[in-house]
Amino acid sequence: MEFEVENIEGDGRRAAFVVRGATPAFVNGVRRAMLADVPTMAIDTVDVYENTSVIFDEVLSLRLGLVPLTTDLEGYELPEECSCEGEGCTGCEVSVLLDVEAEDEDTTVYSGDLEVEDPEIEPAQDGIPIIDLKPDQAVVLEATARLGRGRDHAKNQGATAAAYKHLYRAVEDGGGGEDVLRGYVETLDGDVVDMSEYDGRVSEAFDDDVGFETVDDAFVFEVESDGSYEAEQMVSEAALSLSERAEELADTIAT
């Protein structure tokens, strides 16, 4: 299958692009791969040495698990695909330390206080509050982060939004009809404009007699990542995982 991808917007965590020449089934495959298949790094087990805070170990661990970590797919394997067969080795897990004591004033522990062994991996945001400590309370723990997939746990869902819709195209002599349009629309010249620049108002962006139709094989994709990847990388990883699985299927059928 051949298709064209044209970027409209992209600034790290968000991306918007147009895919031309694809089918709805394919585009939906990419969307689902982003949600469920692209592995992300997240804290998976926690060894609590000390926790005198008012929050239970289990709640604290869940909060740690939900913190997005930047993911390095080159350096790490999924535990089930690792050569150690899920035993746990430096090829599939990193250890994360947290050691905070509130001495004589209220302290909030932030995701930035996590110390990850590998400098390639760090919390995607430093400002996520994890627990409040009152004076003399302390938390000391060692956690293990591993790669995991969105289909197994929501903490590993790298895409917080992945959605597509048909591209709208302006046509001459369409006789108006639409007053308000959201999202991206292709103009008569073939450019793609963001309707939010015109507050969605058709009369401001187009001439009066312009009408609109959907383009059957073009899709506008909008992607937002949780910070474990840049949005663009997320899309290419999803496409890669899709093609890997297609190859696997072809191999299985061939044998």
Partner: protein, 63 residues
């Protein structure tokens, strides 16, 4: 107790925005404008911040 780290519905990490949100709303800014400004766009994520009640101080004396 503590602000949820991620939005329950879509998974966007919202907790990091909570402190700024509370601070700015307390200063009298409009909630809607603050949320827009913090890039918390979807209503699933917005309700996470808007409806949160901080309880750690209430529970603290009970260990």
């Amino acid at each position: 107790m503590m602000v949820p780290v991620r939005c329950f519905t879509c998974g966007k990490p919202v907790a990091a925005e909570y402190e700024e949100y509370v601070e700015r709303v307390d200063e009298g800014e409009d909630e809607e404008e603050v949320l827009d400004d913090l890039d918390v766009d979807r209503y699933c994520c917005r309700r996470m911040l808007v409806s949160h009640q901080e309880l750690v101080d209430t529970v603290a004396p009970y260990q």
